[in-house]
């Protein structure tokens, strides 16, 4: 009976959540079918972003943005909770948490468990590292709580944990050395930098940070990432299932480019894609 009551209140909570988030859910449901994100196979989902146990361990112990891991920045696979936190996590005595941690590490590997659940997977295996980190953070707190009767030690551990996180984790953002030079936006986006682009068929591939065209209202080939429109991938000749296969439209016929630059809405592109003919038809 108590469980029934709990389920009823929980259902109300979920309904409230859906009510608040509904506007986004409805719009995304409409978009999802138009994007290359829909209907991905296991092979496409695991093309990049698999985290081996060794890489996971490295991310725990040395979470610095210094290398790539299976196509991702190393910061995307770090479950670091600080070395003190990691040591304390071993003191947690909760079997459920240990089980959950093993489950998340297995999922992040992108192996048999990920394949088994691939119909329910939205993104790369590496995203499960977040849940490993979350579980470790709870385990570390449990471990700290276990020691909390020994006050002098816990104070010291708390200070160590603070120092550990304060000294290491801020280095994860921005992601050096994989990012561009830091510049004031008014300088980076100065009008002089784009003056030569106006009126010319330059599209995506504008110099950083003018990639999007939004600040200066310059038309581009549009977003080319993992949630891009099927229609845009078709126009650009992008065959990479993860998107980003061809930012620059190198596979794009000149007449297609010229046609696109004359359009003033995304709908025109959708209609051309629907016809599956030459966009100029």
């Amino acid at each position: 009976m108590a469980l029934h009551g709990a389920i009823l209140v929980l259902t109300l909570a979920i309904l409230l959540g859906l009510l608040i988030g509904g506007i986004q859910i409805l719009q995304t449901a409409f978009y999802y079918q138009k994007s290359i994100r829909s209907g991905k196979t296991y092979a496409q989902l695991t093309e990049i972003g698999k985290v081996s146990p060794l890489q996971f361990l490295r991310g725990l112990i040395r979470p610095l943005p210094i290398r790539m891991v299976d196509g991702l920045f190393s910061t995307e696979i770090t479950a670091s909770v600080g070395l003190t936190g990691l040591a304390l996590a071993f003191l947690a005595r909760d079997v459920r948490l240990c089980g959950a941690l093993i489950l998340f590490i297995l999922l992040a590997q992108g192996g048999w468990l990920f394949r088994l659940t691939s119909k329910f997977q939205l993104r790369l295996p590496a995203r499960w590292t977040y849940f490993s980190g979350l579980t470790l953070a709870v385990m570390a707190t449990q471990g700290f709580s276990t020691l909390s009767l020994l006050s002098p030690i816990t104070n010291l551990l708390l200070i160590l944990q603070c120092l550990n996180i304060l000294l290491i984790h801020p280095k994860l953002w921005p992601m050096k050395p994989f990012c561009q030079r830091i510049e004031k936006p008014s300088w980076a986006f100065r009008e002089e930098a784009v003056a030569h682009l106006r009126g010319k068929p330059r599209v995506q591939g504008l110099p950083y940070p003018l990639t999007t065209g939004q600040i200066h209202h310059i038309k581009t080939l549009g977003y080319s990432g993992g949630s891009q429109l099927k229609a845009m991938a078709w126009l650009r000749g992008d065959t990479n299932p993860n998107g980003s296969g061809d930012h620059f439209g190198r596979n794009m016929a000149p007449d297609k480019l010229a046609w696109w630059l004359q359009q003033d809405s995304w709908q025109a592109l959708e209609e051309a894609y629907g016809r599956q003919g030459s966009p100029a038809d």
Partner: protein, 191 residues
């Protein structure tokens, strides 16, 4: 204890607060997220009429990771559209950074039944764990709601749980959030 969390937050983002307010003006924030926030702000100023973004993102508001309806982001974009590029970028960075403080307060309340010191340890460990330190605003915004969702689930508070589910959904990093919600439901039922 909240004062300690604020102090830790200031120390963690010391570069932003005390050295260079443009220290995040690079990579994805600059080449995508910030221009997006400008164009969304312009759209809200136009009274939500016309296409949001004819330049880069088709069906802008349909893409969850652009969090077009996430209230703190909407406020930031709207206010930022009245400012120059530099001031607007500082506001954008500040909004992202504030989410870490928000997450740490939620985590502190989550662990508070274990005692003050333990809660402080848990708050710092959970809110500032390595995975959370990302340059993508959608991830920052979404994971900031995790402690609040867990707090709602473990205290069986339908209002807080519903609010967290909704706000996390609007924040928009669904590859994490769509799994977080079922986990919190299990917590609710069996914790």
């Amino acid at each position: 204890m909240i004062t300690v969390l604020v102090f830790f937050w200031l120390l963690f983002f010391r570069r932003f607060f005390f050295v260079n307010p443009y220290c995040y003006a690079t990579s994805e924030p600059m080449d995508q997220a910030f221009p997006c926030s400008r164009i969304l702000g312009e759209w809200y100023r136009r009274g939500c009429t016309g296409e949001v973004d004819p330049y880069y993102y088709p069906y802008y508001t349909s893409i969850p990771f652009l969090h077009s309806f996430y209230p703190p982001h909407v406020i930031q974009c709207y206010l930022g559209s009245f400012l120059g590029l530099d001031a607007s970028f500082i506001l954008y960075s500040f909004t992202m950074v504030c989410h870490f403080l928000f997450a740490s307060i939620g985590a502190y309340l989550l662990f508070s039944p274990l005692g003050d010191l333990t809660a402080l340890f848990g708050a710092i460990t959970l809110a500032y764990m390595g995975y959370n330190i990302k340059q993508n605003s959608c991830i920052n915004y979404t994971v900031a709601w995790t402690p609040w969702l867990l707090l709602g689930a473990t205290t069986h508070n339908p209002w807080l749980t519903g609010l967290a589910i909704g706000m996390g959904t609007l924040a928009g990093y669904w590859p994490l959030w769509l799994y977080m919600v079922p986990f919190s439901c299990l917590l609710w039922l069996f914790f």
